[in-house]
């Protein structure tokens, strides 16, 4: 069961990132916090700090010794610290989901094994298939004049692309998406989170056994053959890594595509501009990532320290709110405005430091291709009248429904 959320009376001393108002519109809250108390605190669930300034977020991300990735979840599991027995999924994944849940040295070598799978070169090889997935989806609703840009489109792309990397059939993509949502999006509902994690674990264990018999050209086969410190990699590490690729690559990218289409549906000037100047796309993609950065990560404080004048004690948690950092006016003039051709943009939507998103090349390609294919076929679209846009929040923020209307293809725009 999901836990009940009490209303927040003071964001500086009692914040709650699952508060429905925060999930749908966190921007004014961050702005107030930056002015009044840039490092907010809460005692809900666990003693947790939340810096909202770019400078503080980047400093913490660059200090993995004091801020460990042993607790990256933004919502601590219910039983944590209470002496309750660990959950089944935790025992099976003795090494967590490296590299994201790991500190050096485990982080260093597991990250190195993953990186080549998401290199610039390899990602170019996935672009053509991604484009055909996207264009097939657009064709399926282009002549209807209405679609849900999140559920019918954004949500459908990343699981299919990750399937290519993992070497699993496209038909399974909806199942993947369901597991990942259970695991991440409903993190406050322990039963659902554990069930999603276990289902993924069982499926990937089966796939790993299959690759032992029938090797393919995919990540699992590659990890089975890898040698580190002159030995093979422990199965539990391989499974943790494979699970991470699934978990990290689906909700995140889908949220970024959905938020970008929501922005274009609700901002006529930006939509017209992007259609008229398609060469802006790569820079516009970075700006949309800045403005709607989907991911917030957690860290565990390992020794008493201080950030932005705020004392933090060993054992406390910190949220790396990359989205709030990206809206800091000290780092980005007119931070709350989307400027499609923003030329100076050191945004941290993909994090910063040693955990920088290993899949960022893939995510950027998917976002650019998804927007390009949509705009090519549906250049003119807007939110359906009276539409309710629902945002999910927590670890990953993005719209779950974006009902839009457009002139059906064949009709004159």
């Amino acid at each position: 069961m999901a836990r009940h959320t009490e209303p927040v009376l003071d964001w500086a001393s009692d914040f709650d990132i699952l508060d429905p108002g925060y999930v749908s519109d966190p921007f004014p809250i961050w702005e107030e916090l930056r002015r009044r108390c840039p490092v907010a605190h809460t005692s809900r669930r666990a003693s947790t700090w939340m810096p909202t300034r770019y400078e503080d977020v980047v400093r913490i991300a660059h200090d993995p010794e004091r801020f460990s990735s042993a607790a990256v979840g933004v919502i601590p599991p219910v039983g944590e610290g209470t002496g309750e027995p660990p959950e089944p999924g935790e025992v099976l994944l003795a090494y967590g989901l490296p590299p994201i849940t790991a500190d050096p040295p485990l982080h260093t070598w597991t990250r190195r094994l993953l990186l080549p799978w998401f290199s610039h070169r390899r990602v170019e090889g996935y672009a053509a298939t991604t484009r055909s997935i996207a264009s097939r989806l657009v064709e399926s609703f282009a002549d209807r004049g209405a679609a849900d840009a999140a559920a019918d489109y954004a949500q459908q792309i990343p699981a299919r692309v990750i399937g290519l990397v993992l070497g699993v059939p496209e038909a399974l993509s909806d199942t993947f998406t369901g597991w990942v949502r259970d695991f991440l999006e409903f993190a406050d509902d322990d039963e659902r989170r554990v069930a999603g994690g276990l289902a993924m674990f069982r499926y990937l264990s089966g796939e790993l056994e299959r690759r032992r018999e029938e090797p393919g050209d995919d990540l699992l086969t590659d990890l089975l053959g890898a040698r580190v410190h002159e030995g093979p990699v422990d199965d539990a590490v391989i499974l943790g890594m494979a699970m991470l690729v699934l978990v990290a690559g689906v909700d995140t990218t889908w949220s970024a595509i959905g938020a970008s289409l929501w922005h274009l549906a609700t901002h006529d000037d930006d939509r017209h501009r992007l259609v008229a100047e398609p060469e802006l796309l790569p820079i516009a993609v970075e700006e949309l990532l800045r403005a709607y950065a989907p991911v917030t990560m957690g860290r565990l404080v390992t020794e008493d320290t201080e950030v932005g004048g705020c004392p933090m004690a060993a054992g406390e948690r910190v949220l790396l709110n990359f989205a709030a950092a990206n809206r800091d006016p000290e780092a980005f003039p007119e931070a709350d405005r989307v400027v499609l051709d923003r030329a100076h943009n050191r945004h941290v939507a993909f994090g910063s430091g040693i955990h920088r998103c290993a899949g960022s090349n893939l995510a950027r390609m998917e976002l650019a291709v998804a927007l390009e294919e949509w705009l090519r076929r549906i250049p003119e679209f807007h939110l359906a009248p009276g539409a309710e846009v629902r945002w999910a929040g927590g670890q990953v923020r993005g719209p779950r429904t974006v009902p839009v209307r457009f002139p059906p293809s064949g009709a004159q725009a």
Partner: protein
């Protein structure tokens, strides 16, 4: 203009390469290096400045004329 990628800072975001593929190369691990020993042709100086201003790790630097 001459530029350099600080190996200790670069985390492989590849923003530099995306903005100025004429000036950088990235390896399979994302590590970027400046081509031609960092020598920037005059017509590419604007692009080099963009790369400097967009690297999230502040790893691209101007090191000389």
């Amino acid at each position: 203009m001459r530029i350099r990628v600080d190996e200790g800072r670069c985390q492989g975001h590849a923003r530099c390469f995306a903005l100025a593929p004429e000036l950088f190369s990235v390896d399979d691990y994302g590590l970027s290096t400046a081509l031609r020993d960092g020598e920037v042709p005059v017509e590419l100086e604007a692009k080099a400045r963009l790369a400097i201003a967009n690297c999230p790790e502040c790893a691209v630097e101007e090191v000389g004329p």
